[in-house]
């Protein structure tokens, strides 16, 4: 080992308690940071995946203005051929066309206003998790069958079961009166109250007939393998749409602006907390290194009078800090990873999280997972601030005068 | 009546890999009103004996009696009370509490004793005057010379008129004039208040004031002489 390195290392252990306490502060913060960052980013990913999987998909082709107003007449004409062409072109089955209308659904006993989707029975399962959440009956099979799939809460409120009739009333695309009688063929339960209470799906062909859509629909939903793949797909999709059709493509954060913003809001408060932790560690290091320099004033005076340059002493102090910081970094990253891994195996459940989880499409028990990135990001920042904090005591050495320094005991 | 009685004290320190006999079968009796100089080269055991008498250090064996109480078996708290009530200390160095002023240092023991503030003020001012530090009462130790600091320490040791004063090289940092003044002060207290003094020193001028000189070497008492004090 290099002699300077050995000197720095030994200096650290002249006050083992102090070194351990300062390292302890780093380890504590690092452990917490690793855990929190792993948890946080794990949750974001889950939130995004779960929210988009339910219904939204990664992107949608829509008529301009539809995203904001959802008016019947803001429609995509010839939507089925369009969806078919896109599926062929991108060799992707996870593309499906939909129509949407609002209507009053009446059973024998109750009437509720609901959102009615016209979906492609063959392709909807590729872009939405709802077809897979059927708990009674079946999903739609035929483009024109007079069937409907509704949410569990809606079924309870309407007091209907499989095979019962529902009357749908609403306005067609041209504003005319639209009505149909359909049979409940399936009941789904997503666990998301809004969806279970307000959603119904019927075959797109029938939907187009009932609401006078004349072959039009409102959205072509596209799901990719991953978020990253979706990002790559987006420009190709835009390019492949007919230029004169005036259609727009929205990606997921345009479709679910709340999601990204909720993440941003959460991130900013999380970063505030992390920042405070890091600052507190920096203070701790500043204190320790300043004391360590001050109590060695006499000793430094001797070395300076022997002809050593202040710059080398400053570097020695920085090296000591770097060594101590490195211990904090390594131990902290390891304990943080172990701590997090415990929850990776056993899961984490906070009281009250069930209610919050339902709000963000999260499971009530989350399993945070550390990656190299989440394990190292926090500790690295702490390390950087550790070095920054040691600058002041290190720079003080330049002002040290050998004779005066030796007088101090 | 004896003020201090030590019976067959032994104390061994380990220094490096060697055992050092600091006290080797030491017995000594000091009467009330005694004025004793312990004289020894450094390492001769005089500080250890002084500390044993003051209850600061517990001997390995033997008995220490101060004011008719056996102190080597006392608890820390009892020892603290005993020192507070009966013994005044003057150490060689590091005598003062650096964050307190001269007057506060002098008042410190009285404050711990619970003496009311007015009385403390009055007594401390009087004693500072007596040791020649009038006007310096608001200085902190760092703002005073070594001699001035030592006089503050003496003032603190005698301010509450203890029956026994233990002093370890009290004149080590003083010039000859100041140390003579200090010794005169001790002598006067000894005469008028019958205060017992035990002073460890190797300063010839100090020895002149003693009524009894006890010489030690390697932890043993080698000579014990009464003399007429100067």
């Amino acid at each position: 080992m290099n002699i300077v390195l050995r000197l720095a290392w030994r200096n650290l252990w002249r006050q083992p308690r102090r070194t351990w306490l300062t390292t302890g502060a780093m380890v504590f913060s690092n452990t917490l940071l690793v855990f929190m960052i792993s948890l946080q980013f794990g949750m974001y990913e889950l939130m995004i995946d779960n929210t988009l999987q339910v219904f939204t998909g990664h992107m949608q082709v829509q008529a301009p203005g539809y995203r904001d107003d959802q008016k019947m007449r803001q429609a995509v004409p010839g939507i089925l051929p369009l969806a078919t062409r896109l599926r062929d072109e991108f060799e992707l089955d996870t593309i499906a066309a939909r129509g949407w209308a609002f209507g009053l659904a009446s059973s024998d006993e109750r009437s509720y206003g609901i959102g009615i989707f016209g979906v492609e029975p063959d392709y909807e399962p590729g872009v939405s998790s709802i077809p897979g959440l059927i708990k009674e009956g079946r999903f739609l099979e035929d483009y024109d069958e007079p069937g409907i799939v509704i949410g569990a809460v809606l079924a309870r409120n309407l007091r209907v079961g499989i095979g019962d009739e529902l009357t749908l009333l609403g306005s067609g695309r041209d504003g005319s009166f639209a009505a149909a009688v359909v049979n409940v063929v399936g009941i789904f339960e997503s666990g998301i109250p809004d969806i279970d209470r307000n959603f119904a799906e019927m075959p797109l062909g029938l939907f187009q007939d009932v609401f006078y859509m004349e072959g039009a629909g409102h959205q072509v939903v596209i799901s990719a393998e991953t978020l990253d793949a979706a990002e790559l797909l987006l420009p190709q999709l835009v390019a492949s749409l007919p230029a004169d059709a005036g259609l727009v493509v929205h990606d997921w954060d345009a479709l679910q602006p709340g999601l990204k913003q909720a993440i941003q809001a959460d991130m900013s408060s999380a970063f505030f907390m992390y920042g405070i932790l890091v600052i507190l560690v920096a203070f701790s290091v500043l204190n320790t290194q300043l004391m360590s320099v001050l109590e060695r004033t006499h000793e430094f005076g001797i070395v300076l009078s022997l002809g050593l340059r202040p710059g080398r002493l400053g570097r020695l102090v920085m090296l000591e800090t770097a060594l101590m910081g490195f211990m904090g970094l390594v131990i902290g990253a390891i304990t943080g990873t172990i701590f997090t891994t415990w929850f990776t195996v056993n899961g984490l459940s906070i009281p009250g999280m069930e209610e919050m989880a339902a709000m963000f499409n999260l499971p009530a028990r989350v399993y945070p997972e550390t990656t190299f990135g989440t394990a190292i990001a926090g500790p690295l920042i702490v390390y950087a601030f550790t070095l920054l904090a040691a600058l002041y005591p290190a720079l003080r050495l330049y002002r040290l005068h050998p004779v005066e320094a030796m007088r101090i005991n | 009546m004896s003020s201090v009685r030590c019976v067959d004290l032994r104390k061994t320190y380990r220094q490096g890999d060697q055992d050092v006999k600091a006290l080797d079968h030491v017995s000594i009796e000091i009467d009330e009103g005694g004025f004793v100089c312990l004289v020894a080269p450094s390492g001769g055991g005089k500080t250890t004996l002084l500390n044993a008498i003051g209850g600061l250090d517990i001997p390995d064996s033997g008995e220490v009696w101060v004011a008719e109480q056996r102190i080597d078996e006392m608890s820390k708290g009892e020892l603290a009370d005993l020192r507070l009530a009966n013994i005044g200390f003057v150490f060689q160095a590091y005598n003062l509490i650096p964050v307190l002023t001269a007057q506060e240092n002098v008042e410190f023991v009285m404050q711990v004793q619970g003496v009311p503030a007015a009385e403390r003020r009055e007594k401390s001012m009087a004693i500072l005057e007596e040791v020649g530090l009038r006007g310096l009462e608001d200085r902190r130790p760092a703002e005073m010379s070594g001699g001035q600091q030592q006089r503050v320490a003496v003032a603190r040791a005698i301010v509450s008129r203890p029956a026994l004063v233990l002093a370890d090289e009290p004149t080590a940092n003083l010039d000859s004039k100041t140390s003579d003044e200090l010794m005169e002060l001790f002598t006067e207290l000894n005469r008028h208040h019958n205060t017992t003094f035990v002073i460890a020193t190797h300063d010839q001028r100090v020895m002149r004031y003693a009524k009894r000189i006890v010489r030690m070497l390697d932890g043993r008492i080698v000579e014990d002489l009464e003399q007429d004090a100067a």
Binding site: R18, L21, A25, S29, L32, K71, M72, F102, L104, S106, E109, R110, S111, G113, I114, N157, L169, P257, G258, K260, Q264, A265, S269, M273, I276, L277, L280, F283, S284, N287, T288, L290, M291, I350, P351, G352, M353, E355, M356, M359 | N51, L56, D57, G77, D81, R83, L84, A85, F89, F91, Y94, N95, L96, I97, V99, L100, F108, Q111, V112, R156
Partner: protein, 410 residues
């Protein structure tokens, strides 16, 4: 106890003997306690606003329904007791306000569009205290009486329906026999709300008008009560529960909206965890400072012991020093917190993430709320934990042997 003044003086002077270290530690404590209080005030503000908004949708701190209504919100599950009988049964009880209303799901249709909404049939005079709509800020006018023939809808809904003040819309719901009950209304007013979703989902008509349209006579679907403080609704609950017939379901707001109720509790937990985490981050520095402070005055401690100070007084001295350090740091942190929160009382605009906040149930302006309880909690927790953390170095300091301490070199 007698020793406290002298020990305090010693502790304070020792604190400033190494002023650099003390200033650094004070800064750390001040930043830590500032962060505790500031962050707490922000989250409290957010949750308060969420709950205020949440309650304004419900609205009412205590609500009475037919037992089936919350599961099956239909006029079939209505309250048939007429208002004057209700008024008689609440005679003598003091509420900030109470009202009965008709709340049912409905469909609203313009010439071109239809949407699902919650229809509220209200007595505008009785609801003034409850409503999240400020009557005076409505474009056009608000409802004027229970038999007003107009409808007031949200601006966002009006946009989606392509309608405006003066135009007609149709409201459709069901009567108790599940016959379609519908009626045309003229839009008389457009309201704006702090949360966009309110504007889309609530539609106001007169209570009597609603009763006629739904053919329910003098029946309503809910009776609601406001107490003085949403955090403490039990007194109101007791008053109502005592006076309401056994057949009806009386609930506190947090029993109806469990999300909000839980948020309130989660936030209490969060505040405590945050305070403890910050303290732990501080504690290393605190213990370190004390260890160093003791270490560099071992000889002086020995001297004090030699002079007759009891070990317990040394212990007390170090503890007092630690408490003084913490208290001073906390004080600075508290003052900083108040100074930084004060200018933000008018609200922090976070509309950049408005839709995200709405997803959480919060609105886009954040009003920090500084509660004395939270400040006290932060300070007390730090002092208590700080005291415990200081015990070890203080204990060690009091265990020195005077001679060893005095003769210690270094």
């Amino acid at each position: 106890m007698r020793m406290t003044p002298v020990l305090t003086r010693l502790a304070w002077r020792y604190l400033w003997r190494n002023h650099r270290r003390t200033i650094i530690m004070l800064s750390a404590i001040a930043v830590g306690s500032w962060a505790m209080i500031f962050m707490t005030a922000l989250t409290r503000g957010m949750v308060d606003q969420m709950i205020a908004d949440g309650i304004s949708v419900l609205p009412g701190h205590v609500q009475v329904h037919d037992p089936e209504f919350l599961n099956d919100p239909s006029v079939a599950n209505r309250i048939t007791i007429p208002d004057r009988e209700l008024a008689a049964s609440f005679d003598g009880a003091e509420f900030r306000a109470w009202a009965s209303r008709v709340r049912v799901p409905a469909v609203i249709m313009s010439e071109r569009e239809s949407r699902g909404v919650t229809l509220l049939g209200i007595d505008p005079a009785a609801e003034r205290e409850f409503s999240f709509v400020s009557y005076d800020e409505v474009e056009g006018r608000f409802l004027e009486s229970p038999d007003d023939n107009g409808v007031v809808i949200g601006r966002k809904l009006a946009d989606k329906l392509d309608t405006e003040v003066g135009k007609r819309i149709v409201l459709m719901s069901q009567d108790p026999d599940n016959e379609i009950a519908d009626r045309g209304f003229r839009v008389v007013g457009l309201f704006e709300a702090s949360m966009p979703s309110f504007e889309e989902s609530f539609v106001f008509i007169g209570k009597t008008t609603a009763q006629k349209m739904l053919r329910i006579g003098e029946a309503t679907t809910e009776v609601v009560f406001l107490g003085d403080d949403y955090r403490d609704v039990d007194p109101t609950y007791e008053l109502v529960a005592e006076r309401v017939d056994g057949g009806l379901d009386v609930r506190r707001w947090h029993e109806i909206d469990t999300y909000l109720g839980t948020m309130l509790k989660v936030m209490d937990g969060f505040v405590l965890i945050w305070v403890v985490v910050i303290f732990l981050a501080l504690s290393f520095g605190l213990v370190n400072t004390l260890v160093m402070a003791v270490f560099e005055r071992v000889r002086e401690i020995g001297l004090m012991l030699a002079l007759g100070m009891k070990p317990s007084s040394i212990l007390a001295q170090i503890l007092i020093e630690s408490m003084l350090l913490l208290a001073t740091g906390l004080l600075i942190g508290d003052v900083l917190a108040v100074l930084t929160i004060q200018p933000l009382q008018g609200g922090i605009d976070i509309s950049a993430v408005a839709e995200g906040m709405e997803m959480m149930g919060a609105s886009s302006v954040l009003y920090p709320k500084l509660y004395l309880d939270d400040v006290v909690l932060a300070n007390v927790v730090v002092l208590i934990l700080g005291f415990l953390a200081s015990l070890s170095p203080a204990w060690r300091a009091s265990r020195y042997e005077p001679v060893e301490a005095i003769t210690k070199v270094g």
